[in-house]
Amino acid sequence: VDLGLLEDQSPVAGDWVLIHVGFAMSKISEADALDQMRTLAMLGEAEAAMQEVQGYGLENEGPPVPEPKAAL
């Protein structure tokens, strides 16, 4: 993930972030991130989200919070 747009929020390894088109956009609390992952799974969107993550070439870097659409 490219962290270039988060320099003000000083992310460190282990932080959770919202990713859009390969760039981390916003830091998220761990509780919110895990809740989001559970919700994606419940809504049947986890697979699509992980496909997008694989598109970024991140599949070996742990589960970030995927953001399903590359748009608004």
């Binding site: 988060l6 598109g55 399903p68």
Partner: protein
């Protein structure tokens, strides 16, 4: 179809639906616009309209980047990429958008080197890996995506990478909202504000909508419960004759936005005097162009662009649907000549386009309050 009991906190979904029915004054008709195409998609996908009383109407806004891009821009980009030394790189949702002579995918079938990228940074990698080719990234998107393009251009400049350029179609959301509010045939009572754009611009840029136009705005997340909660917040404000900007999506959206992202945009982009939007026409200061300091990486400054203007196919009513004047199914071509498999208009291409969302989910059993009552 996903049923209510599969959603997060189904009891809260049911409560939100009941609260909306309680708050909606039966003597009023509410027209609430969700600005963002991601919200439009979620509303159809999860059948949220069926949880709303009939006098709470959702109007779909202009926040689908693929949908608002006029066909002439696609033609312009593809005409540059007709050069056999070019690689045309774009996000996947651009690939099936029709140009006058076919979509990027159809151009690929005819021999153009067209690549799908997940990130502008991938396009930059393509340029590094193909030094004999010129890689042109066809950039679309609102403020969510523009900072990533900006940072990619800053890196291209820092590296002195000469075989890379951006054909920039980035647009900004605020002027589009203003154009909708200025439109005489449009009456909106309140807005579900875009979630991901707001991670970048924050909530302050919406203040004029509340102060000058007297309309409430609630920046919203994308889950069913988020959207319903946002509608509750809007109806509460409307019931008290208030108009404020509220942030329902606090877990992701900081009130002040992302300053580093805004700095990157400021470094690389300036406002175009005007830009054409499909359906909304020319809107002043509504799009971004690449500053002259980055002209070496701006396809429009570096190469000769035809500057094509194409009117949409006459029978297609994309404009009216984009402005919320017509529902997708009221377009003459909907579901007949225009389908996701054979799209005539861009709103049928992107999953965030209201026509594609409506088409893909219209056969599904709607969620009803009755479903939730059995939980």
């Amino acid at each position: 179809m996903k049923y209510v009991d599969e959603f997060r906190a189904p009891e809260l979904i049911a409560k939100a639906g009941e609260e909306i029915s309680r708050l909606a004054d039966p003597s009023r008709h509410y027209r609430i616009m969700e600005i963002c195409g991601g919200h439009t998609h979620a509303i159809y996908r999860f059948g949220l309209k069926d949880l709303l009383p009939t006098n709470v109407e959702l109007i779909h806004g202009p926040g689908c980047p693929v949908c608002v891009l006029p066909m002439g821009r696609i033609d312009d980009g593809l005409s540059l990429a007709a050069n056999p030394d070019f690689i045309f790189a774009a996000f996947g949702d651009m690939m099936r958008v029709p140009g006058t002579h076919g979509s990027p995918l159809e151009h690929k079938a005819r021999g153009m080197d067209v690549r799908i990228v997940y990130s502008p940074a991938d396009a930059l990698k393509l340029a590094r890996n193909n030094p004999e080719k010129h890689v042109m990234f066809f950039a679309i998107g609102f403020e969510t995506t523009a900072p990533s393009t900006a940072l990619t251009l800053m890196r291209a400049k820092a590296e002195g990478l000469r075989n890379f350029s951006v054909f920039c179609n980035h647009v900004t959301i605020i002027p589009a909202i203003r154009a909708i509010l200025d439109s005489p045939d449009m009456r909106i009572d309140g807005f579900v504000g875009p979630g991901h754009v707001s991670t970048v611009i924050g909530c302050r840029p919406y203040h004029w909508i509340s102060t000058d136009e007297g309309k409430p705005v609630v920046v919203s997340g994308f889950e069913p419960l988020d959207i319903l909660q946002s509608i509750v917040m809007l109806l509460r404000q409307l019931g008290r004759s208030e108009a404020r900007v509220e942030n329902q999506y606090k877990r992701v959206v900081p009130w002040e936005g992302n300053k580093a992202a805004l700095r990157a945009m400021e470094e690389v982009f300036e406002l175009r005097p005007y830009f054409e939007w499909r359906g909304l026409g020319f809107i002043s200061q509504s799009a971004l162009k690449i500053r002259t300091e980055y002209s070496q990486w701006d396809a429009e400054q570096r190469f000769t662009v035809p500057g094509v203007r194409v009117t949409d196919p006459k029978a297609a009513q994309c404009g009216e649907v984009l402005k919320g004047v017509l529902k997708p199914s009221q377009c003459k071509l909907f579901g007949r000549e225009c389908t996701p498999e054979q799209p005539v208009g861009a709103l049928m291409v992107s999953s965030e386009g209201s026509c594609a969302a409506y088409y893909n989910y219209r056969h599904l059993k709607p969620v009803t309050i009755a479903n939730t009552a059995t939980l």
